[in-house]
């Protein structure tokens, strides 16, 4: 498997095919004398912004901690939860139960529902 | 290579930008000419009943504003300000006719406008012939 080509930046979907973000980062575990092990997928704007520039990540984190859902931590998905890697990366989770949808839920509850026709 | 490209680009730019007052005058005259032609078409089509009154009136007013804006800081030919003044007078007459819904009254200023358009044309030609 080519990790960068096949996994990084792919769409993550939960077990109900609900979109829950992109693979913004891949964390490996280094153990002395053993090959590096793929440990987690990460999804979240701060991880993404870090790839552009570390300073960019700090700005994004500062903005995210003040506005809306006030959630800055990237979400980690253990590699053992990955079910299938194809067009999308399918994971054995329920998106609604994870913090990946924090902003989605916040907007839905505090903005969209209050607009006529939104609820 | 890069420097040569940049130099040639600058040359082209310098050659094409209307830096001289003469170029500016020609550009202004062309714009005024275009707006005058528009006014004529508005007048004629209004006379035929092909456009709404409100649109005709607003467009004629807009044309007066545009011409005033274009010719605000015009220097050079001394005969020009007089011509522009006449042109604006004609446009005002047309606007008045449209406002009062009197189709007969627009005929005279329209003829007048055609003559003025002709004069502008001559002026533009004379300017264009100058090196």
């Amino acid at each position: 498997m080519d990790v960068i080509r096949d996994v990084l930046d792919n769409q993550i979907v939960d077990r109900n095919q609900r979109k829950m973000g992109k693979v913004d980062g891949i964390v490996v575990e280094l153990l002395e004398g053993q090959p590096p092990r793929l440990a987690y997928l990460e999804t979240g704007v701060t991880t993404l912004a870090h790839r552009v520039h570390p300073r960019c990540a700090r700005w994004v984190a500062a903005i995210a901690s003040k506005w809306g859902a006030k959630h800055t931590e990237p979400f980690r998905i253990a590699w053992s939860k990955v079910r299938n890697i194809g067009i999308d990366v399918e994971v054995d989770l329920d998106a609604e139960q994870t913090p990946t949808l924090a902003y989605e839920v916040w907007l839905r509850e505090y903005v969209i529902k209050h607009i006529p026709g939104g609820s | 290579m890069k420097k040569a490209l940049l130099a040639s680009l600058l040359l082209v730019l310098a050659g094409c930008s209307p830096s001289s007052s003469h170029d500016k005058l020609v550009k202004t005259l062309k714009t005024v000419q275009s707006w005058t032609a528009t006014a004529r078409m508005v007048g004629e089509t209004w006379q035929q009943g092909s456009i709404p009154d409100l649109y005709a009136q607003q467009t004629l007013e807009k044309i007066q504003q545009e011409i005033a804006k274009e010719t605000k800081d015009l220097t050079g030919s001394p005969a020009l300000p007089r011509q522009i003044y006449q042109l604006q007078q004609t446009l005002q007459q047309m606007t008045a006719a449209v406002k009062q819904h009197r189709k007969a009254e627009i005929a005279t200023p329209l003829v007048q406008l055609a003559t003025e358009q002709q004069q502008l044309e001559t002026l533009l030609k004379a300017q264009g012939d100058r090196p």
């Binding site: - | 730019l13 094409c16 275009s34 528009t38 709404p52």
Partner: protein, 404 residues
């Protein structure tokens, strides 16, 4: 039978959907200022846009990925961020211009200044996005868009001199007004080869669940549909060249363009112009708003879909809601709609290479499009488009800026 219906629908869609404020404005400007001389840019732009739209449809049908998804996955976020930011900025300006087109159409008919219409128009666009679903928007607006065929009918009524029209097919550069000529050429290309079309079209294809069996439909829609859309643009150019050019009217504002159909059709011509402008721009405004929401949602992996209820795709719906109202503010403050249109079309041409270069990679990637890779013709057209728009934009825009 179903496929024929789909093709017919697709073509109708394209006529209404792919003609927008940019195409109308640039063609009117070109015809009034340079008679038939710029016909070649419309023909050239059409060939390029047909090829590229076909590719984005093929990409979506075979790989099940939208263009934005595919670009991020294959080229990484650190590349994708550039076309993403460029596209959002251009979308913002273009949306302002499209809303401006609708407002001008309303001003022509009612006499109430376009600035007052900006917010009501934005509200109407938003309401349709909020309440409607994808097929309603595509089919409804596009069906109304058939009214723009008035320009084609007018062309036949005006009987242009065919040799002169044919001469316009050959690219020439005039002695006078070279800078303006090139600028208009760039704007026409920018108006026809709009990047939002590719993102939007591929998102629509994924939303409609296209698969390999749709490749024929895709080819027909891209070819015939975009072709028809361009025939209308050609109609606008020829009518402007026949009606406005001989009188010495150069289109500097929409009020001047509004006169062009009065010669062939009288009073109805005026109404038809306003209706064509209004409907085409309204349709395009819907598409541009959606496009922005699509690319942002796809960039960050949010739930998206015009057919979803707003609460199922909260971030997606939120983006188009905010975007439509922000863009309408450009009109509220009174920026000249025609100048904004020409400017944003030229800017579109500048960012075009950023959008098109990924096609070269994606459409040659067997793990993505399998046996449906690009042939040498498609690859050549892609490279040609990149070079052409880039060179033209680099030359023409500084010229126009310095030339005032």
């Amino acid at each position: 039978m179903n496929k024929i219906r789909e093709i017919a629908l697709g073509i109708v869609t394209s006529i209404g959907g792919f003609l927008d404020v940019g195409a109308i404005a640039t063609a009117a400007e070109a015809g009034s200022s340079f008679e038939f001389q710029l016909i070649w840019t419309i023909v050239l732009g059409t060939i390029c846009v047909i090829a590229l739209v076909e590719m984005s449809g093929r990409l979506a049908a075979v790989s099940k990925h939208t263009l934005a998804d595919a670009v991020r996955e294959r080229l990484g976020f650190n590349f994708f961020i550039f076309p993403l930011i460029a596209e959002v900025i251009v979308d913002f300006l273009v949306l302002g211009a499209e809303i401006g087109g609708v407002c001008i159409a309303l001003q022509l008919v009612t006499g109430i200044s376009f600035q007052w219409w900006a917010l009501p128009v934005a509200f109407a666009i938003w309401l349709l996005l909020w309440k409607g679903n994808f097929s309603l928007i595509e089919n409804g607006i596009s069906f109304l868009g058939l009214i723009t065929l008035a320009f084609v009918v007018a062309t036949f009524k005006l009987r242009p001199a065919l040799p002169a029209v044919a001469e316009g097919l050959l690219p020439t550069v005039p002695q006078q007004d070279t800078a303006h000529y090139l600028f208009i050429a760039v704007s026409i290309l920018g108006a026809l080869i709009s990047p939002y079309l590719f993102y939007f079209y591929s998102s629509g294809a994924v939303e409609d669940k296209w698969d390999k069996s749709h490749l024929g439909v895709n080819r027909a829609v891209a070819g015939l549909g975009m072709g028809f859309g361009s025939v209308v643009s050609l109609g606008v150019l020829i009518v402007a060249a026949q009606v406005l050019h001989p009188r010495g009217i150069h289109v500097d504002s929409y009020e001047q363009a509004a006169l062009m159909l009065t010669q062939p059709f009288g009073y109805w011509g005026f109404v038809l112009f306003a209706a064509s402008l209004g409907i085409a721009c309204f349709g395009a405004a819907l598409e541009v708003s959606l496009d922005t929401a699509y690319i942002l949602a796809q960039a960050f992996g949010w739930n998206w879909g015009e057919s979803l209820h707003p609460k199922e795709a909260a971030r997606f719906s939120f983006v188009y809601t905010v975007f439509v109202f922000l863009a309408s503010l450009l009109m509220v403050v009174g920026i000249d709609p025609l100048q904004l249109t020409l400017f944003s079309m030229a800017l579109t041409a500048v960012i075009l290479p950023l959008t098109i270069i990924p096609f070269l990679v994606l459409m040659n990637d067997r793990s993505y499009v399998g046996d449906h890779c690009n042939g040498w013709i498609s690859n050549s057209i892609t490279i040609f488009t990149i070079v052409l728009t880039f060179v033209l934009a680099i030359v023409a825009i500084p010229l126009e800026v310095l030339g005032g």
